[in-house]
């Protein structure tokens, strides 16, 4: 019985320390030191929330850069991947469909190489990034629709490209920031 009493008291005390005091302390530090980031990196324009820098959005119109395939159609209330195994027919089929879509949208020939991030769905379904190659591949289409020079697009894409570390790793761009820049909205890099 003594052990039971101690167990319950311990749980109560640790609930106060680790369940209330600790998260509140971290929240306090967050508000003081990183108000934008700890609040979800929200992009607010004219008083309305346009999205979060970290959460990808579903882009289908031709004048925007398109993001990676998503198993949840960028529904951030859900989040999730396809969870299909590598030899599952459904996966093979959707990869073929995605590749065909990318090729027809961007008028590429059937033998063209498509970056792997454009044919495979992300894990979260909310991946905000595409590879720089995937962005370059879409520039021609966007330039035609928006009637601007392709070089301008390439320079914007270059401006927003980031690497895993400054001296190492893959290069990618944030699709939402890129598209906001296209619409003339200034976004922090």
């Amino acid at each position: 019985m003594k052990q039971l009493k101690i167990s319950i008291l311990m749980l109560l005390i640790f609930t106060i320390i680790t369940g209330l005091a600790y998260p509140l302390l971290i929240t306090g530090i967050g508000i003081a030191a990183f108000p934008h980031k700890s609040g979800g990196s929200l992009i607010i324009r004219n008083g309305t929330v346009k999205g979060s820098e970290l959460i990808g959005q579903d882009f289908t119109r031709p004048e925007y850069f398109h993001g990676r395939p998503s198993a949840v159609n960028y529904d951030s209330a859900l989040s999730g991947g396809s969870n299909l195994g590598p030899v599952n027919k459904k996966l093979i089929e959707s990869v073929k469909v995605r590749a065909a879509t990318v090729r027809s949208e961007n008028r590429l020939d059937d033998k063209s190489v498509i970056p792997s991030d454009m044919i495979f769905a992300s894990g979260s379904g909310l991946d905000p990034h595409i590879s720089v190659d995937a962005a370059i591949l879409q520039c021609e289409r966007i330039a035609a629709v928006r009637k601007i020079d392709k070089a301008v697009l390439l320079s914007i894409a270059g401006k927003y490209s980031e690497r895993q570390l400054p001296f190492y790793g893959k290069s990618f761009v944030n699709v939402l920031k890129l598209n906001m820049a296209l619409d003339g909205m200034e976004v922090r890099k």
Binding site: S7, P23, I92, S116, I119
Partner: protein, 568 residues
């Protein structure tokens, strides 16, 4: 994959090891009760807790009392956490007005978090209120890791003490783990994570008007504080459905490094602490090397298979070199692979990519890591315990070869230690295999599948291996939030927890009472390369003997159809 990736992975692992050595030294001071720089701040709180709970910190316990404390603390935790979930609809801090959780899911989740597993049948953002996440789940993230470390420390005392009756005081060990190790590290990690963009807010969910004019509901919450401890305490339960693949949980490459580092830190440090407590650094190093050999083998297999061409696709004219399905671009394949190896070797179980979509052999490595009981670094405290069972088994095998009584660190092993080790090694494995067999034979088991054929078998195996190993990661395609899975997985969870910790405490009590035999010429050296090879070999053979038949039907069969370009 470039040579730079390999260099970067190696540098990361070396730096993690270096810091784990330092933390090991620190943890030795904590559990030996030495005074050091943090004592003036934390010691008063520690004393206050003992006074409030009526604990005499100088009074040590026999192993049975220690075990009883462990069992009661776990059961009390399950009851409290279960009730909190079912009642959350009536409690505050619930801005989304989420209803109470259904009984089977609440029971499964309570057991899962109390056993340091954090298997999640539910999706966090659509199920749990902020109060449940904080005052329920976060708390168990701390104490389930803390009490696991306590059990590990008690086992180490079995080796360091001679002709003693007691193995320490569980409440003191628990309190010290949480106050001196887990909380300070979590605060540091949480602040670093927030600097990268991990959420920490009590604001209710926000609806965004997207660029194309659509609506997007953005879930928020106090995530950073929970993610810090979920990684450090080898818990792994995500704040959001997709765990650390979610951009709010793991927004940048740097946050990924911090989290992966946190996954490995305490399990590695525990091994070095073992060496320090024994006053035998070489022994700690030898154990660490045995684990590292297995870790590197597993990681290499995963990397190799993730860059293997998928013939079902290449056959139809597709050219690509990496499997990006279910992976996030900011991490890429190498760092997703490292994470999947880290999370299944330790008993962490958080994911930064979807294991279900990995290549078949990668999935097999993950299954193997969990099936052997997560002893490659392993969970906070409990991973080390599992490893000691294999050491006992290895010493037994060695003893048979040279014709001497098996011994380790001057302690002779008898039939009692052997039978306890075998219970602890075999019971969780058998439970996982039998329950998987049940699940593939009945309709409620099969109806949860997301993939057919051999990959479906892997999905079911993964669920039971993960729960029996107290890991918590998943082939997430399996819909396990049903009465059938919630209850059978709960059985696996409880077996995995108690069938390893209780025998370990029994062994600790037995060993503590024994003499320490001085080393002689005929003693098998346990700090050299031979020891490393023998133990790693025993682990691989034991795992292979138990799992090969079922792996042949699951991942290996799938691998063969991948090679031949077949689909199902």
């Amino acid at each position: 994959m470039s040579v730079y990736d390999i260099i970067a992975l190696a540098v990361f692992l070396l730096m993690t090891t270096g810091l784990a050595v330092l933390l090991g030294g620190y943890m030795k001071m904590v559990f030996s009760g030495e005074i050091f720089f943090l004592s003036p701040v934390i010691r008063p709180v520690e004393r206050g807790i003992y006074r409030l709970c009526g604990i005499d910190e100088t009074k040590e316990m026999f192993w049975k009392e220690y075990s009883l404390g462990f069992i009661i603390f776990n059961i009390a935790g399950i009851l409290i956490l279960g009730s909190l979930q079912m009642l959350q609809g009536m409690l505050p801090l619930n801005p989304q007005n989420l209803p109470g959780v259904k009984w089977d899911s609440a029971l499964n989740t309570a057991i899962s978090f109390v056993t340091n597993t954090n298997w999640q049948g539910y999706g966090g953002e659509s199920t749990m209120s902020y109060l449940t996440q904080m005052a329920g789940l976060t708390v168990q993230n701390f104490v389930s890791a803390g009490i696991g470390m306590a059990a590990g420390v008690a086992l180490i005392r079995g080796f360091t003490r001679r002709e003693a009756k007691t193995i320490g005081n569980i409440w003191v060990d628990l309190t010290r783990s949480v106050l001196y190790v887990l909380i300070p590290l979590s605060i540091i990690a949480a602040v670093l994570l927030m600097s990268q963009g991990v959420l920490q807010t009590f604001h209710s969910y926000v609806t965004a008007g997207t660029l194309e004019g659509g609506k997007q509901l953005i879930p928020l919450g106090p995530a950073a504080s929970q993610i810090a401890i979920k990684q450090l305490g080898t818990n792994g339960g995500g704040f959001f459905n997709v765990n650390s693949a979610h951009p709010f949980e793991n927004p940048t490459f740097i946050s990924n490094l911090i989290e992966n580092f946190s996954i490995l830190l305490i399990p590695m440090a525990f091994v070095f602490m073992f060496g320090f407590m024994l006053n035998n650094k070489k022994q700690g190093r030898a154990v660490f090397l045995s684990m590292t050999v297995l870790f590197i083998i597993g990681l290499s297999v995963i990397l190799w298979s993730e860059y293997k061409p998928n013939h079902a696709l290449t056959g139809s004219g597709f050219y690509f070199t990496e499997n990006m399905e279910g992976k996030e671009l900011r991490f890429g394949v190498p760092w997703s692979a490292l994470w999947s190896q880290s999370t299944t070797s330790t008993s962490n179980g958080s994911v930064n990519s979807m294991h279900d979509s990995y290549m078949p052999l990668s999935g097999m490595v993950n299954l193997f890591n969990m099936g052997i009981g997560e002893v490659i670094y392993g969970g906070a405290g409990v991973g080390f315990i599992g490893f000691i069972f294999y050491v006992i088994l290895s010493m037994f095998v060695v003893g048979l070869m040279v014709g001497r009584t098996p011994e380790f660190m001057g302690k002779k092993f008898g039939p009692y230690e052997m039978s306890m080790s075998m219970i602890a090694l075999i019971l969780p494995m058998i439970t996982a295999v039998i329950l998987s067999a049940v699940a593939v034979s009945v309709q409620p088991g099969l109806s949860g599948l997301n993939n057919p054929s051999s990959h479906g078998l892997s999905e079911i195996l993964y669920a039971y291996f993960s729960c029996a190993g107290n890991n918590g990661s998943a082939f997430a395609g399996l819909n396990a939030n049903t009465v059938f899975y919630n209850t059978t997985l709960s059985v696996a969870l409880l077996t995995g927890r108690f069938a390893t910790v209780i025998p370990a405490l029994a062994i600790a009590g037995e060993l503590a009472s024994k003499k320490i035999v001085p080393e002689s010429q005929a003693t098998f050296p346990t700090t050299g390369i031979l020891f490393v090879i023998v133990v790693a070999g025993v682990i691989i053979i034991m795992g292979a003997l138990t799992f090969f038949p079922v792996f042949a039907l699951g991942p290996i069969l799938e691998h063969l159809s991948l090679n031949s370009g077949g689909t199902f």
